[in-house]
């Protein structure tokens, strides 16, 4: 009983210290009302076991961007909610006590358009063989590049099922980015990667990636009418 009380005391002290730390970090970056509101949000988050660093970062960002106080507070609150949602989703995927980077990866995924279900599925797919933080990051980045969320998740799950290395997973966003730089839409670029075509990430500055003969870069296709046989 005493040890339980002692633990409770230690925890609340820690929380108080952490809150002070938040306050100190925000000093000079945001107005007092934001400082105070974020301290509360962060304390609440910490009590629920959520990472608080992203909240502090978001508040500093809002201050630097000269965003009105109310908007900053709103954004920090929304981020806290997202971190909570991500934690729930990650737990639903089988990770009981996720580390901060996994939760943050999940939250970024949610920001980028993945659903909670997607986050859980990705965590489940990672199991023992893959770092769930890495898997979530890759999927979040693909979505942030414009790949439709469902397609992004399928692409990552597919690579995991094929037993591809973490390195290969890490290269996915770069490959999609290369495809986009060549004129494909993100969905098209992701599709190409999925079918093993690749987008020539290794050819920086060369003649461009090799294409199968029937692949027309989207900037150059014709549109509403079938080709005129009389045209050369």
């Amino acid at each position: 009983m005493r040890s339980f009380l002692a633990l409770g005391f230690a925890l609340s002290t820690a929380l108080r210290l952490a809150a002070q730390d938040v306050g100190a970090r925000l000093e000079g970056h945001v107005p007092p009302e934001v400082q105070s509101a974020v301290k509360d949000i962060a304390a609440d988050a910490a009590a629920r076991g959520l990472p608080t660093e992203p909240l502090v970062q978001k508040a500093i960002e809002g201050g630097a961007k000269r965003v009105p106080a109310g908007r900053v507070i709103e954004a920090v609150r929304a981020l806290a909610a997202r971190l909570a949602g991500a934690t729930d989703a990650v737990r639903a995927g089988g990770l009981e006590s996720p580390k901060a980077d996994v939760v943050e990866g999940g939250a970024d995924g949610l920001s980028a358009g993945l659903s909670a279900g997607h986050v859980s599925a990705l965590v489940r797919a990672s199991r023992a063989a893959y770092d769930p933080a890495l898997v979530l990051r890759v999927a979040a980045t693909l979505a942030a590049l414009g790949v439709p969320p469902k397609q992004a998740v399928q692409l990552v799950e597919g690579m995991i099922k094929d037993g591809r290395s973490s390195s290969d997973l890490l290269s996915l966003p770069g490959e999609v980015q290369a495809g986009v730089a060549d004129g494909a839409t993100p969905a098209e670029a992701a599709e190409r990667v999925n079918h093993g075509g690749g987008n020539g990430v290794g050819n920086a500055g060369g003649n461009g990636p090799p294409h199968p003969p029937d692949w027309v870069p989207p900037g150059q296709g014709k549109r509403h009418k079938p080709p005129n046989p009389h045209k050369p």
């Binding site: 960002e61 900053v72 929304a78 980045t141 590049l145 770069g174 730089a181 870069p217």
Partner: protein, 218 residues
């Protein structure tokens, strides 16, 4: 070859005279001329709805390749000294990174100290990352992000020659970072070629992940 129109009829067609102002003997000719010009099709034309996407796809490609070209200009002559201090395998890996944003110059453990123009990070687990932005109309460009408390004054870019390209190289700690360019002190611009994520304030930030292998689009 038939006779052309009478000069007065031409002025009629130009809108400088009315039919009633023509001499009576020219009115038939005038009416005929008006029928000719009146036959022109003035239907407005609306182009296909996919035109916008097609144009923007090409525009993005051009923007990305411009940055890539600036890349090679930047990496060739000026970085000889840096290149010598980097393990060849890592350098080749760095060149393989696609379009536009961050080039990695990994500092291998135990390698030589940081070269002069780049601030020494002190920490072992940090990596040099180069930022590039094509902004010929800008007067001042900086990069701000989670690695420098979003301070718009902490990391200014410099013009690379006269190509309209701005650049800087920073030592970033290992981990996930968000950033954006600050143009002319007040406009926050996401990196066109990097993954974008809502910043919660109505704009978008860019993402870069720094690992000991280097900086990734991740």
């Amino acid at each position: 070859m038939s006779l052309g129109y009478h000069p007065l009829v031409k002025r009629l067609l130009d809108g400088e005279l009315s039919l009633a102002e023509l001499p009576p003997e020219l009115r038939a000719e005038g009416a005929e001329a008006l029928r000719l010009v009146g036959a022109v099709d003035r239907t407005p034309v609306v182009l296909s709805p996919t035109l916008d996407d097609r144009v923007m796809a090409v525009v993005r490609r051009h923007a990305a390749s411009r940055t890539r070209r600036a890349w090679h200009w930047l990496t060739a002559p000026r970085d000889v000294e840096l290149r010598l201090r980097v393990r060849p395998a890592l350098w080749a890996g760095a060149l393989a990174i696609a379009a536009g944003v961050a080039l990695l110059l990994a500092r291998a453990p135990g390698s030589a100290p940081a070269p002069a123009p780049v601030a020494r990070s002190g920490a072992r687990d940090s990596v040099f990352v180069r930022f590039v932005l094509y902004a010929p109309g800008a007067r001042h460009v900086a990069v701000a992000g989670t690695f420098n408390q979003w301070d718009r004054n902490a990391a200014p870019l410099v013009r690379a020659g006269t190509t309209g390209v701005w650049t800087t190289t920073l030592a970033l700690p290992v981990g996930q970072h968000q950033y954006a360019f600050v143009v002319d002190g007040e406009r926050w611009v996401a990196d066109p070629a990097a993954p974008a994520i809502e910043d919660g304030f109505g704009r978008r930030n860019s993402m870069v992940a720094v690992t000991m292998r280097g900086a990734h689009t991740l």
